[in-house]
Structures are given as structure tokens and as C-alpha cells.
Symmetry: C2
Subunit: 367 residues, 2 copies
């Protein structure tokens, strides 16, 4: 069971490989890439404890010179300070422009490692080995890298495509259930904006709230179709000039909720789930989407065990104010991604603050 | 007297405009670019005192919203810490992805501003207004941006092309003589590696050691031909995959000298002048270049008032060791740019340590 997806770009095309046991079989992938001999694996304590040794062994067996750097985990450590620790290791190991960083971890490790690779010697290679569902279907693909500014997430960053994305579904076994559900929010997103087929597969599943309930076939399908969706969009719009904006479905209000609750109350996936519910309501109000499909989306969110209710302590005015400082704002206008039908979405900056208010309020009142 | 040069790139082509009074006439350039309304000018105290007010006025007159950020001057401030101050200003001014940073200053300001632009919101616009000769003919063109790591220059950086480079030769009047000569080192470099014509113009000049001795025609020519050389090379090799390496002529040994003397004894241009003299001798020893042309180069260096002697306190073994940690090292081999004739150079990694030693020693003994 091996899926291989190509992210087609003008100059930096690369493969996403999805199969059990890929971490142990990284050697042949490394040997097929035009990369130099030196590799640094960047990870966090917990993930490295689980998978670090196997990975290092597999890399050594393929005759690469490898060292590793363990960084503290958690969004609050996604800072320039952590990136500087990667720089220091790069210096210590005399990395060259042909050298490679491997990110073994979730989105935080992937984003920081990608940013370090983007900016060390003006750009060295990076390989992503995402270990969370969220990172597998989203963060690891597409070349967005970055760290947080004290006053905003991902404000500092660069586009830097990986040379390879290796996805080993078996590592999800050690992922906490809540993190699994968070990743499922992005999977549902791809269903809504890109793939009717994926959406229907999710609807057909008995339960989606824990990995244990998914057959390995369904999991492989979910990963493959989600990665394919992301790859399709990124291939058509590498630097977020247009189409790629649809990937922000659910993220506009989602980011505002994360920011206003200090990134503690809800995690990213949960915020996106709530954001999708709000955006779905906006789409219905604007006449873009049918009430019935919006409800199908909300049912899927519920089945996955994700929230769809805006936290009651948040003031709708604060949400509107936060939307204005979002980095996706263009000429002062807030852009929303709105579904048109299951499997297709569009971007508009014509949503009035009143409609946003109404939708947010409905999502605060509903349970 | 206006020269316009195009840096032709696949996706980010841009103009270099060279003419007196351009700072006051920036308005029409800004209006012709596809940039948003918000601009931050980044500069240092001295330069901003001289030219800041005129620039800000001209920008406002063209109906852009402009603010500015003054950073401390000097290579030791070319750090992530300074870049963070630009980030903070960007946040305070709600910069959007279409917004623009303008670097008004020498290489330090240009590199930091470029890096901030490369990494804020994963890339916003930057316009370079170089105020030193070195920055005009080199740093401002080509998209190399970066800051120093405590243990090495420019180790942290990104490729990020400007939307425009504006060169106003009149600002050179306030440039210290030593800085002028430092810039002339790069001009001589273009003569040796790219333009026989430029080289001969320099040879024909009576004196080159102070700006005052240059006619405004000669100055315009020097700027135009140097920028054209850089633009030609960058157009053919945006990301330093091959040809662009020839721009490092004189820089291999030059960087080692700067590093070993703590960036205090000699400035960058002086180090490059010494490096060219060493590289010239290596080229002669390897049979690439004629003794006679190597001497013509050294005479031009002397006429410009630049040093060509390796500082006597430096040990040749330390220089060799430092060369190995240079970021241009590939597979452990040190690459040298060597002239073949005036106006043409090539890159080789086949220079033996013995030949480097001999050449360095000759350049230590000569006066």
C-alpha cells in the first residue's frame, strides 16, 4: 500500500510518499535525491523517543552523515530563538548548501525546520516527515514555513518547498486523540472545498472521532486524497497568488478565535472546525451554498468529535476587529473562502461585517 | 543622464535606474509598480539625516502612506535582533502582503531590510536605494539578503529580489573616502571578470582614490557598467547555481581575511582587493592568466588606493582553515574564481592548498 503524489512546480517539483514503514525505508528515497552527504534531523523529545532511533539508523544505513537536534515542543516555542538553535547545529556540523534538514515531528517542528532550511546559507534542502495528522495533510506540503511573532502566528516565514514529504501512517498510533481530531478538521476541509468523493467517504464511515475506528484502507485513502487535494492546489498556485487562498477555508474566523483565546482554549484544528461552521453559515446567507450541504458539513464535524460552536465568552466585535489584522487582509478588506457546493469553493471580499456578526452569533447560540 | 538596466528573471524582473536626483523623483517609479499603498523606509541615523526627509516627502507626494524605522549602523548590528525591529514596525503599521519596505542605506541596511521583506508574511515587496558605492554596484542588486550569525557573516538569509533599485549618484558625496574606495574594489572586480571595457576606462582615469577626481560622466559609466555586469550575471543564474559564483572573485580569501581580523582591520572592499590580488597570483600559477594582466589588475588596485597585501600578522595555515568553513565550500572542496583574461573568469575547485599558500605568502611579502 504505497501512494505517491507529485507536487508539480515550475522548478521544485517533489514527491509525497505515503505508506506504512516508510521511516525505516527512507534510505532508497534519500539515495534517489540530488542532496549532499550531510543531514540533521530536527525533532522534539517525545517524537524522537518514539521514532528517532529507527530514522537515524535508516539514514546511516544509506551512508549519509547524520546528526540531530531536539527542540522543545509546543506552539509557544515556534520562535526565532528555537530556529537559532537549528542554525547553531548547522554551523557546528559545517552544513553546506547541498546539505539537508529533516523535520521529524508535527507542524511546529516542520515549520521551524523549514524556515531554518529556507534561511540557512540562503536555502538548503529540507525533507518533511510529519508525525501528526494535521502536519501530514497540511503543514508538511506546500512550502509554507515560519515562526510566530510575539503578536501573531506565522508572521515571520518564507516559502521553501521540501525535496520530499514522507508520510508513515503508523506513527499516528502515538498521536493523542484530540490531535487526531484536529487533523481531521483539515481533512473535512478538503472534502468541502475540493473533493466530493473524500467528503462522501467520510460520511460513510461509522465513526471518525478516534484513529482506532478507521480501517487502514480508509486511513490510507484519507491521507492520499487530502495530500492530493493540497498538491493540486499548490501545484496551480505555489505562492498563494490566487487559488491557494481556498485552503484557508475555515481559517479566517478560526485564526481569530485562536488568537483571542490565547491559543490555549481550542487547538488549530478545533478552531478551523468552528471557522468552517461559521463560514458555512455565511455562505448560506450570501446565497453561495445550500442550507442542506452546510448541515451535512456540520454533521461531519460533530461525528469527528470536533466543536462547531464559537466559545461563548468571545465578543463578536472583538472577532471582527481581529479579522482586520489577519495577514490575508488585502486593501483592508477581509477575504472569506466560501463553499459553493461540496467539493468546490470560492474566495470573496464582499462579506459585510453584519453578515459575519449574524453567522458568529448563530454559532455561539447553537450547541 | 539616466541609465535603466533590466535584471531579467523568470518571474521577478526589475529595473535598476541610475541618475542624479532620483531620490526626489521616486514618485513616478512607485506609481508604475504593482505595489500597495503602505511603505516603510528603513535607514540609519546618518543617512536618514541626509536624505530621509526628501525621500519621505517624495513618497508622500505620490500619495503613498509612509513611515520609517531607523536602525543602528554597522556590520555588528546586522543581526536577527535588528530585523526584529523592522518586524515590529511592520506589525505596528499593519503591513499587508502588497506593502513595501524601502532600504535607504548601505549594504547593512539593504541586507537587513531585504531579509525582513523576504520573511515578513512570507515575503513582501522591497525597493533598494543604496547609498554606498559598494551597495550600488553589488549588494542592492541580485536579491541576496541576510544577517550575520555570531560565528559567520551572512549565514542567515534568503533570496528575495527587489521590485526596483534606485541609484542616485549624488548621495555618494557624503560617503567617506575609504568607503568609496571599498566600493571601487567591486568595480575593479567587474572589470576583471566581466568587462574589458570597464577595466580600460578605469585604467584611463587619472586618479581613482577619491570621488572628487571622477567626472560625473565617468561615475555614471562606472555605475552603469558595474550594474549591467551584475544584472547580466544574475539574469543568467538567479540562485547561484553556476555562473553567479564568478561574482565571488576575490571574496574567497577576502572573507577569510575579514573573518580572521574580526571585521575590524580591513573593510569588505579592502579584503576583496587583497583577495583579488591573491586570486590573480593563483590564476597565474595555475596557468589560467598571464602575469602581465595580473599586474595590470594590481596596478589598478594600487591606483584606487586599495591594499593588495595580506596583513602580515595572519598565519597562512589559519587562512586555509578558514577557507574550509566558507559557505561556498562544496563537498569539502574550496572553490576559487580565477581570471582567464581581463573580462572573463572561471570557477575551479582544483586549486591545491600548496598553491594557495604560495600565493598568500607572496602577497604578504610584497608591499
Amino acid at each position: 500500500m504505497l501512494s505517491e503524489i507529485t507536487v508539480n512546480l515550475e522548478t521544485n517539483s517533489y514527491q509525497i510518499a505515503i505508506a506504512p514503514q516508510l521511516i525505516n525505508n527512507i534510505g532508497s528515497y534519500l539515495q534517489s535525491l540530488p542532496i549532499g552527504n550531510k543531514i540533521i534531523v530536527v525533532s522534539n523529545t517525545m517524537i524522537f523517543d518514539h521514532y528517532g532511533e529507527s530514522l537515524i539508523k535508516a539514514i546511516e544505513k544509506a551512508n549519509f552523515s547524520v546528526s540531530y537536534k531536539i527542540l522543545p515542543d509546543g506552539e509557544r516555542h515556534k520562535t526565532l530563538l528555537s530556529v537559532q538553535k537549528i542554525y547553531d547545529q548547522a554551523l557546528e556540523n559545517y552544513l553546506e548548501r547541498s546539505s539537508t534538514l529533516i523535520a521529524l515531528g508535527g507542524g511546529v517542528i516542520g515549520d521551524m525546520t523549514g524556515f531554518a532550511a529556507a534561511t540557512w546559507l540562503r536555502g538548503i534542502n529540507v525533507i518533511q516527515i510529519p508525525t501528526s495528522l494535521l502536519a501530514m495533510v497540511d503543514a508538511a506540503i506546500g512550502g509554507k514555513t515560519g515562526v510566530n511573532h510575539p503578536q501573531g502566528k506565522n508572521l515571520i516565514g518564507a516559502f521553501h518547498q521540501p525535496k520530499l514529504v514522507l508520510i508513515d501512517p503508523e506513527v499516528l498510533k502515538t498521536l493523542p486523540h484530540r490531535e487526531f481530531r484536529a487533523g481531521m478538521a483539515e481533512v473535512i476541509k478538503y472534502g468541502v472545498i475540493w473533493s466530493d468523493d473524500l467528503f462522501q467517504q467520510l460520511e460513510s464511515a461509522q465513526r471518525l472521532d478516534q484513529l482506532d475506528y478507521l480501517s487502514s484502507d480508509l486511513l490510507q485513502n484519507i491521507l492520499t486524497q487530502s495530500c492530493q487535494a493540497k498538491a493540486d492546489v499548490v501545484s496551480q498556485d505555489e505562492k498563494e497568488g490566487g487559488l491557494r487562498a481556498i485552503l484557508n477555508y475555515g481559517h479566517t474566523v478560526g485564526h481569530a478565535i485562536e488568537s483571542l483565546t490565547g491559543y490555549r482554549l481550542v487547538n488549530h484544528g478545533e478552531a478551523v472546525a468552528i471557522g468552517m461552521s461559521v463560514a458555512g453559515k455565511i455562505a448560506v446567507k450570501m446565497g453561495y451554498w445550500s442550507e442542506q450541504e452546510s448541515q451535512r458539513q456540520d454533521q461531519l464535524i460533530l461525528k469527528t468529535g470536533l466543536p462547531k460552536t464559537v466559545p461563548p465568552m468571545l465578543k463578536v466585535e472583538d472577532i471582527l476587529e481581529t479579522l482586520k489584522s489577519d495577514k490575508k487582509v488585502k486593501n483592508g478588506k477581509v477575504r472569506f473562502v466560501l463553499p459553493q457546493k461540496i467539493g468546490a469553493a470560492t474566495v470573496t471580499d464582499e462579506v459585510s461585517p453584519e453578515i459575519v456578526k449574524e453567522a458568529v452569533k448563530e454559532c455561539q447560540e447553537s450547541t
